[in-house]
């Protein structure tokens, strides 16, 4: 009897655990919201320049770049500072004179879903683009 009660009590826990595992693998249901907070457009048609500026910005933010692809416009890097932060940034043409930059990052074992954090990254990227455009080093 006691075993049956115990199993019944554990059942909801096991069910939510399974749902939790799926969410960990597939992510949440907030695709649109995520894309919005992780993306910005820049008025330029020079993809290579934007990729190089993304790399420079990530280095400024203490990331060590682990991979980049000029043609696909992807840059990945890792920051270690007592924690492990991983980030991938993609740069692709949105229109004739616009580049879409999207960043997604992970802090230790969790995806970063705080818009303020991404805003900080794009602020740093804007500054770097400004530096490049105005030849300041």
């Amino acid at each position: 009897m006691n075993v049956r009660i115990l199993l019944l009590a554990l059942l909801p826990l096991l069910l939510t655990a399974c749902a939790g595992q799926d969410k960990r693998i597939l992510g949440g249901d907030n695709q649109v919201e995520l894309r919005n907070m992780q993306s910005r457009t820049f008025e330029t048609n020079d993809q290579n320049r934007v990729v190089r500026t993304v790399i420079a910005t990530m280095q400024d933010l203490s990331f060590v770049i682990s991979n980049a692809d000029a043609e696909l416009g992807t840059v990945s890097g890792m920051k270690l500072d007592g924690y492990n932060m991983k980030m991938t940034v993609t740069v692709r043409q949105k229109s004739e004179n616009q580049m879409l930059v999207r960043a997604n990052a992970q802090y230790n074992l969790k995806a970063i879903e705080d818009p303020a954090v991404y805003q900080d990254f794009f602020t740093a990227l804007e500054k770097a683009m400004f530096l490049t455009a105005n030849a300041v080093e």
Partner: protein
């Protein structure tokens, strides 16, 4: 409420409070950004970015790194190596602690060093800028990560750029 429960709750409250104060993810530029950039960057008076990257690959090979990825169109080389992290000082301290207190403390055993070298045309002067960054993950003798950090020792960057300068010269002269 009994005293032990009260104490346990207080301890839990303290634990949560300290958790709330833990480092939060941030992409804000720090005040040391410019200083770090200067330490990690050198100008090379060359118009040949690919030759500079080749010299970078050669110097990383000299230093025993395995090249992980290269992308010349954005001026990137990444490399890594695993080396010992054993420190005589740390082992001596562990022996001292073990003898005095009987406690066996962990010591560093192995580390993985990751490095990225990025080149960019200088906006102010003729030539290309090379920026290098090193980071490491250290595991202790219990197999746990004991440290994960960006390496910021100025001497290390100085020495790397000395070697890169030599490598640029050697490559230019096909040595």
């Amino acid at each position: 409420m009994s005293k032990p429960i009260c104490l346990a709750l207080m301890a839990l409250a303290l634990l949560f409070a300290s958790g709330a104060g833990a480092a939060k993810p941030t992409f804000e530029l720090s005040t040391s950004t410019l200083e770090d950039r200067q330490q990690q960057t050198r100008l090379y008076e060359t118009e040949d970015e690919v030759a500079l990257l080749s010299a970078g690959i050669a110097v990383l090979q000299d230093m025993g790194y395995n090249i992980v990825t290269t992308e010349k169109d954005v001026g990137l080389i990444t490399a890594s190596k695993n080396v010992s992290a054993k420190s005589g000082k740390q082992i001596a301290a562990a022996i001292f602690v073990a003898v005095v207190t009987g406690v066996d403390i962990a010591t560093d055993k192995e580390q993985q060093i990751n490095v990225s070298l990025v080149t960019n045309r200088s906006q102010l002067r003729e030539g290309y800028l090379a920026r290098v960054t090193f980071q490491r993950i250290v595991w202790n003798d219990r197999g746990r990560v004991s440290r994960a950090e960006t390496i910021q020792t100025p001497e290390l960057y100085e020495e790397f750029f000395d070697k890169l300068s030599k490598s640029v010269f050697l490559e230019a002269n096909k040595i």
